[in-house]
Symmetry: C2
Subunit: 210 residues, 2 copies
DNA sequence: TATATTATGTACCGATTGGTAAATAAATAA
DNA sequence: TTATTTATTTACCAATCGGTACATAATATA
């Protein structure tokens, strides 16, 4: 637009916004919203409760994040890039077995972490719901499907690299691991401790194909 | 149970009710309510939807079953004595391994049965929720706990009977099986087929202690 | 300074929530 | 028949749901 002013000075990276500035940090607020959705689920979290938890009046929430559905999706992105970022990292372990062990162990840590809600938001965000929450329910189903696909691909790679027998069915193994993972989430919401979850992981890893 | 000798009156097995008779069969209606709660969850099922699904006006529902919470509990009883009655039966199998195999196989059948909602009502009835549904959430957690206790006792018995090594930790094994079971429920709500669930069961049973 | 722009707080919207009052209908008992 | 009892229907309740109109406050620009 108007770059005539910028000729004298080096580029000013942060141009100031024009109107009244936001009274809150967007990411911090999304983390608070994540916390509510994570513990209550999509339907169980009311805009009134969100407004109070965020310390922001509803019109400001709608102005900054759109409607409830949009707020949920943005909180979900924070969940994936924050608490659950370890998942992608775990896949980089040298062998599939190590990758899964890392994945499930860190999942046990997260699901039972006392500084965050119990369990996995992608599992309990909208497992069942009324019709209005159907799009969110479908989105979470897709997320879980992607998780499984990621495992499948990791196992395919492991077969190529030789650390997994070639007769292993990658998809089936992925579904088995995903089932354990999701079961652990249910266990955690019911109050299972970190030690209990880790014992489950140990048992699940016992029959690793070799 | 009742060995009462009908001394006073000639046996009147069915005493007619005094006022206007119910226009519906209570158990049939509870099964319809079960169906709604099972697929929608406690919070996702509105009284309006229930009223329509049951074919009964709300005041009649309240008169016959109490409030929403009470209706849910009664539907849950139907669930346990109906679709899930096989659980207790499975425990009677001669060995713990056979019992668990039976349990999980039949769970796979039920969770993917196309004539009923997918997954397990006790898992997805109120995994997360708002505050008003807290009592129901707690009740379902207790149900899952009882399920685990039942498994633990079956494994203790198996250790006594010698079909399970004495060094096995019954509680840990029970939690592992419960985790698989609950994970299978999440898988089923996400659309997993019967075959896929059976493959998971097969993998889970592979590392049975011996 | 005045103006344009954006965010905030108050106060509200129609729709839906779980739940019920009151009139009426259908049965038994006297 | 008449009275009593119970169930159903219609119409409604206050509270809460997600969402917003509008006036005001705070900033950058001119």
């Amino acid at each position: 637009m108007n770059d005539a002013v910028n000729t004298e000075k080096p580029a000013k990276i942060l141009k100031k916004a024009r109107g009244r500035p936001l009274a809150f940090n967007q990411d911090e607020v999304l983390d608070k919203a994540l916390n509510v959705f994570w513990s209550r689920g999509y339907e169980g979290a009311s805009m009134a409760e969100l407004s109070e938890a965020l310390g922001i009046n509803k019109p400001s929430i709608y102005a900054a994040f759109g409607n409830k559905e949009s707020l949920f999706r943005k909180a979900l992105e924070r969940y994936n890039s924050g608490p659950v970022a370890f998942v992608g990292e775990a896949m980089k372990a040298p062998t599939a077995q190590q990758a899964v062990e890392k994945l499930l162990t860190q999942a046990a840590d997260l699901f039972s972490d006392e500084t965050t809600p119990n369990g996995c938001m992608i599992v309990q965000g909208a497992l069942t719901c009324g019709q209005s929450a159907h799009p969110i329910q479908q989105e979470l189903i897709a997320y879980r499907g992607n998780f499984e696909d990621m495992l499948t691909q990791r196992f395919d790679l492991a077969k190529k690299q030789g650390d997994l027998p070639s007769n292993v069915n990658s998809k089936q193994l992925a579904k088995y691991i995903a089932t354990i993972h999701q079961g652990m989430s249910v266990q955690a919401t019911s109050g299972a401790t970190r030690q209990e979850l880790l014992a489950v992981v140990k048992m699940a890893m016992k029959n690793w194909p070799s």
